[in-house]
Symmetry: C2
Subunit: 192 residues, 2 copies
């Protein structure tokens, strides 16, 4: 047909994810996106449409990757309580392992764009639902094996756990010491 692309679109998208994750949507310039992806402006716009379209695709890619990681975690044979602790600490490990202690890109997007872009909002809501479903699966496992409370349904507990881990990520942005965050996870688990 014609001249083929000299770059891999998904590799470029991965670089864009990192940019948006670092700086958010507004503060990431198209120049920076060209630099990090290695594409010229023409190629960038030709491949992804606009900065906003690229942002949406970056969010979808990030969400898909997260969903895969969650499936991996569920494949272990830990009891419910132990697995729940792994789930919570894994999220925080990722954040504290990063120099800038970035919050999950989804949280950043919730705060920055919120409901102002319906497609983005839907992507964020879908991802949040997936994450809560995964947490609910873990809680259900714990309720069945007796390691977690059944004073509330798995879905109800998952909503609380999801909120708590998101809030702890926000806190981790400004805390210097991780101990209080880990303590909060332990306290939360003692309540379950």
């Amino acid at each position: 047909m014609a001249r083929p692309r000299s770059f891999d679109a998904d590799t470029a998208l991965a670089a864009a994810v990192d940019d948006f994750w670092d700086s958010g949507y507004g503060a990431t310039s198209t120049d920076e996106l060209c630099r990090s992806t290695g594409l010229s402006r023409s190629s960038l716009y030709n491949a992804f449409g606009s900065k906003r379209d690229l942002y949406l695709q970056a969010i979808l890619r990030y969400a898909a990757e997260k969903q895969g990681q969650r499936a991996d975690l569920l494949a272990t044979d830990l009891d419910g309580r132990a697995l729940l602790r792994v789930v919570l600490t894994t999220v925080l490990d990722e954040q504290w392992g990063d120099d800038d202690r970035r919050t999950c890109l989804m949280i950043n997007a919730c705060v920055e764009v919120g409901s102002s872009d319906e497609e983005v909002r839907r992507a964020l809501a879908d991802n949040a639902d997936d994450f809560r479903r995964m947490i609910a699966d873990v809680v259900r496992r714990g309720q069945l094996d007796g390691s977690l409370t059944d004073r509330a349904t798995a879905d109800q507990l998952a909503a609380v756990l999801h909120a708590a881990v998101d809030g702890l990520q926000v806190r981790s942005r400004i805390d210097r010491d991780r101990d209080p965050v880990d303590d909060a996870v332990s306290t939360l688990l003692t309540l379950l």
Copy 2:
């Protein structure tokens, strides 16, 4: 001495708070700040220094106002559990009453600037500490009057509650229906 100011600095600062709250630091232009405050560029820069300085002052003003509101809540004579529910729902009422369902300016600032500005970071951390202290006071009241669990210390429970309410605010940015958020508050209270 000389010509006096033709505007009230705190009124202007209040307008700036609203701008930054609406759009964050980066997406709020100095033109918009001039428009909402009614000041010319000269007056704005003369009074507040720079956009970044104005942002810091806006955050400090917002934090001071929040701290006053918290003191008011503590002055009621509800039992600990009832007061805790009021505290949590008050935060969410404020958000859901807003058309854009803005998250607390402090959360926005945590996500957007994080630790990249040490003065801002300190202001955010101080405010978070204040809020947690207030929650701990409420929990302590509930532990003394027997309406709340003492399976963990008040400080430990406050850390969990603070994280949860922050996470629920993030969720509220993209949820269309408030019920799941209220349900999460109820579930959280059943665990205490």
